[in-house]
């Protein structure tokens, strides 16, 4: 909106430091900006251990409590735990597109899986924009040993999608059953995907059932996202 955008004049250097009210989208953004600067500065000055890890029914509840919570929820469900922050959420099935399937949290984040392998995130900030992971997805589904290439793409500060190339080895770790948050136990084969990119080595784990579906996984989403655990709650 032109009226709000200041064109500074004279020797006067004008900051359009505008916070306040109005019906212009983002009328309050400046306040957010100021508080974000303070938060960032504070955080860099004295790194605290952050807020107390938040526990929820998913991470801390009994199977009965979990069942009770998910009972009224519609459709297929998964559980998501972000290990770095110990935050958890229920994931709802929001549809698929070819081999890709989208899972959403109630607060507007989406994880996209390809055969159980995380290939995109949205709404997490440092999102995984897209990935080439069909090789891994196939080996994991077929519970086979093999080497494959993987590419993860992230946005840099100039809005370019920077690819991160990984060399991955998928191996079969043998049978290991999974106990779900709902109390159910599922027979599965544990698959390990070890990926190397430069000095970085990642270990992702997938528990695959007899049909080739991933019941549970623990995988790396990116430097800032860290590792996430995704588990089936209701198929």
């Amino acid at each position: 909106m032109t009226a709000v955008r200041l064109r500074p004049i004279a020797p006067l250097l004008a900051l359009s430091l505008v916070a306040g009210c109005g019906n212009v989208p983002g009328a309050r953004d400046e306040l957010t900006a100021v508080s974000a600067i303070f938060t960032a500065t504070r955080a860099s000055l004295r790194p605290t251990d952050g807020p107390k890890p938040h526990t929820s029914v998913i991470t801390g509840g009994t199977p009965a409590q979990v069942k009770e919570v998910i009972a009224p929820l519609p459709g297929r469900l998964k559980a998501l735990i972000v290990l770095k922050t110990n935050e958890s959420a229920v994931l709802f099935d929001v549809g698929g597109n070819g081999p890709y399937h989208h899972w959403a949290t109630p607060s507007g984040q989406i994880l996209t899986l390809r055969g159980g392998v995380l290939v995109a995130t949205r709404g997490l900030g440092y999102d995984l924009m897209s990935a080439e992971a069909d090789g891994s997805a196939r080996l994991i589904r077929e519970r086979r040993l093999g080497n494959t290439d993987k590419v993860l793409r992230y946005l840099d500060g100039e809005d370019d999608e920077v690819p991160m190339g990984l060399k991955c080895t998928v191996s079969n770790q043998g049978p290991e059953s999974v106990r779900l948050a709902t109390g159910e136990t599922r027979a599965a084969t544990k698959m390990r995907e070890t990926c190397i990119s430069g000095r970085l080595t990642l270990n992702n784990f997938y528990w695959v059932d007899a049909r080739g579906d991933v019941v549970q996984s623990r995988q790396w989403g990116g430097e800032e996202i860290g590792e996430v655990v995704i588990q089936s709650l209701r198929d």
Binding site: L15, V18, G22, P25, N97, M129, L152, D156, D159, M164
Partner: protein, 707 residues
């Protein structure tokens, strides 16, 4: 789960990889360990051949003895940097009765990178257009001799040849400086005596750097005035990184004087809080298979107004939540054309990507072509045409792949555009905001920093396509801008230099109040007519035409204004001064973000001339630029500064907050405000309104299409 702090190592690793590939094996530009007391990469008072990382911005405050230097430095290109400095030397002038305030500009260029048998080599011009207090030139070499230890040796001219002279050099260097400043002193560069200097820096830890230097600056003028106790050419000190991007330095200079320095850096290329915490878009819903579900592909709905309204409402509901207004939708059997007003995302590509997904969800299956037309104030600036099957197929691929398969063109001609009916109730549309504002005055010797903080009520009403009424009122709450006592001594009409009167008498004031008509008389031509109180000092009529094809990096524009100077009270009153002013402008932006603008025409004081602006824009919305205006007003008539010049910064808010917003703020700094080379600040200039809708910027930000 949002707002995780820190930079992405994955991305950083990739960037380092790219750097290694780009430079020859074993060669290193030598990223600076820290900045010196002049705000340049360097030791303490002496420069080195190091460079800052490309695009780094830094602000440095240095206090040496009793003098202060505040410097802004920008690494314009990997090898080129520029600095602007404002300094104060108390009791320097008129036998120690007056403080000296001085502005200076520097340029530095790295000629060679550090290689196995060769040091990095840089050349620098310090204070090359200013009043000459710091005027000096140098050629300096720096070599990393072992890990974290760097040796520097250089030759200095001018002020940097006031101690340890080794040669009389070539030519004359007059000690006199030009009181008016700004006129350049290119005839003196690398003239006169030559001295040598050198030093060593050692960075044993990530946080600490020790520095020792043999200085060639004897602080002669300061010592003469008993302002500096000079005894020795040896300076020593240490720098400590307080936190990432902030460094504190303490040093002994000249044997007896203490110096402290504080430096902060910021790189526009690196977002401090990540690429953005916006919530996820609704994913693509692919169409049902045509063979198994042929009814879904029927076109029986064409012409069914209720069905079309339902589709439009579905899209609008999804997009409204994303801050995107649907202003029109034309739905035909195989083509859908939508007009959107994006008021939330700084990247139009992101708004277009979200619109494409919403269309894929609601538009009947037979529609294969999507045309997305972003509009501002109801006026389209481009049309992005894509295949729906690409949207479905490429949802999980890079955004550039999708944009590569789309075409960006000028929107259809105004006649055919009428095929797209305006959504009922879109106009008139009122947007208003009550917000704080600040206004700052810098570099007044009586008080170099003054500011006002107040409240602004702004409103903008779009009456119909392209017809806008806009206005803003300001009231100061606290501040001291009314204390400026400088009275303009300008011999030209006082077109800008009476700003203290406006600040003193115009509170509250009508900042602006005008009506504008925006249109597109031809496919690649945009127009604007504005009438009213255009800005805080001028009212009148302003007309503009801009030619800019949607895929072009070049634009040409023309603007003509007939304006009358407003009185100081901030109301509807006018002074007698009237002027016809206008410019022909050329704009060009290169793929790497460097841009140039040339404006030729008649300025507010009736002077004729040209303004050249050079800038570097980053895809995330940052812009840093400098301009200079040369008109037929002679330097002595212009007064101090000799010609109008300045630098500006545009900082997008989402860079700081990681929350989606189209807001940005611009800081424009002029060392001085005089009356020559001044332009009226007409609101709604066309170039910036169309630029981000056109192919070069859409593609540069294509990574956000699927964000």
């Amino acid at each position: 789960m949002t707002g995780i702090l820190g930079t992405s190592r994955a991305v950083a690793t990739a960037a380092i990889g790219a750097t290694l590939v780009a430079s020859p094996v074993g060669s290193d530009p030598l990223a600076a360990h820290s900045y010196n007391l002049y705000g340049n990469p360097g030791l303490l008072d002496m420069p080195t051949a190091e460079v800052a990382p490309d695009a780094e911005l830094s602000a440095t405050y240095g206090n040496i003895g009793n003098q202060q230097r505040t410097t802004l430095t920008f690494q314009i290109a990997p090898r080129l940097s520029g600095s602007f400095r404002y300094s104060r030397i108390p009791d320097y002038d008129f036998d120690g009765t007056l403080d000296r305030y001085d502005r200076s500009f520097d340029l530095r260029f790295q000629l060679l990178e550090d290689e196995k048998w060769w040091p990095a080599l840089s050349i620098g011009l310090r204070d090359f257009v200013g009043t000459g207090i710091y005027s000096s030139e140098y050629i300096v070499a720096t070599k990393e001799v072992m890990k974290d230890v760097r040796l520097t040796y250089g030759l200095g001219w001018g002020r940097l040849a006031s101690a340890n002279q080794i040669s009389d050099g070539y030519g004359e260097r007059t000690g006199e400086f030009n009181r008016e400043g700004g006129s350049g002193r290119f005839d003196q560069i690398f003239r006169g005596p030559i001295s040598h200097f050198g030093g060593v820096s050692w960075k044993p830890t990530d946080k600490l750097t020790f520095k020792l230097e043999y200085s060639s600056d004897a602080y002669v003028e300061e010592a003469k005035r008993d302002l500096f106790d000079y005894e020795s050419p040896w300076n020593y000190g240490l720098s400590y990184e307080v936190f990432t991007g902030a460094t504190l330095t303490a040093a002994s200079v000249g044997g007896n004087e203490l110096a402290v320095q504080f430096n902060v850096t910021l790189n526009p290329k690196v977002r401090p809080l990540g690429p953005g915490n916006e919530t996820a878009p609704l994913p693509v819903l692919p169409r049902p298979d045509r063979r198994s579900n042929p009814e879904a592909w029927s076109t029986a709905w064409t012409g069914d107004a209720a069905k079309i309204a339902a589709v439009r409402n579905g899209i609008a509901e999804v997009l409204t939540a994303d801050g995107i207004a649907v202003e029109g939708l034309a739905l035909r059997a195989t083509t859908a054309e939508i007009r959107i007003d994006n008021s939330k995302f700084s990247a139009q590509s992101e708004a277009i990507g979200r619109t494409a997904r919403a269309m894929a969800r609601f538009v009947p299956a037979s529609v294969e072509t999507f045309v997305i037309v972003p509009v501002v104030d109801g006026v389209p600036s481009s049309a992005v045409t894509m295949r729906r099957s690409d949207v479905e197929r490429l949802e999980n691929d890079p955004g550039l792949e999708m944009l590569g398969r789309s075409t960006v063109t000028a929107p259809a001609r105004p006649v055919t555009v009428d095929r797209v009916p305006v959504v009922p109730g879109v106009y008139p549309r009122l947007r208003w905001a009550l917000t704080p504002y600040t206004q700052i005055s810098l570099f007044d010797p009586d008080n170099p920093f003054r500011a006002d903080l107040g409240a602004q009520l702004a409103a903008n009403i779009v009456l119909g396509r392209g017809i806008v009424v806009s206005g803003a009122i300001r009231k100061r709450v606290i501040g001291n801008l009314d204390e400026i006592t400088r009275v303009s001594d300008s011999v030209l009409p006082h077109v800008r230099s009476d700003f203290p009167k406006y600040l003193k008498q115009g509170d509250p004031r009508i900042e602006n109040l005008y009506t504008s008509w925006f249109a597109r008389p031809a496919p690649d031509v945009y127009s604007r007519v504005t009438v009213g109180l255009l800005e805080w000092m001028y009212g009148g009529v302003s007309g503009e035409l801009l030619w800019k094809p949607a895929d072009s990096r070049l634009a040409i524009g023309a603007e003509l204004n007939y304006v009358q100077q407003r009185d100081y009270e901030g109301g509807f009153g006018f002074l007698d001064y009237k002027v016809l002013t206008g410019h022909v402008s050329g704009y060009y932006e290169m793929e790497n973000g460097y841009g140039a603008q040339l404006d030729v025409g008649r300025y507010l004081a009736g002077d004729y001339g040209a303004t050249i602006s050079l800038s570097r824009s980053f895809d995330n919305g940052w812009t840093i630029g400098a301009f200079a205006t040369f008109t037929d007003v002679p330097a002595e008539e212009f007064g101090e500064g000799s010609f109008d010049k300045g630098i500006w910064f545009t900082l997008p808010f989402d860079y700081l907050t990681a929350q989606p917003t189209r807001k940005s703020f611009t800081l424009l700094m002029r060392p001085l405000t005089r009356d020559g080379g001044q332009r009226v600040d007409a609101p709604g200039r066309l170039y910036s309104r169309v630029r981000d809708m056109h192919e070069p910027v859409l593609e540069a930000r294509g990574g956000r299409f699927w964000k």
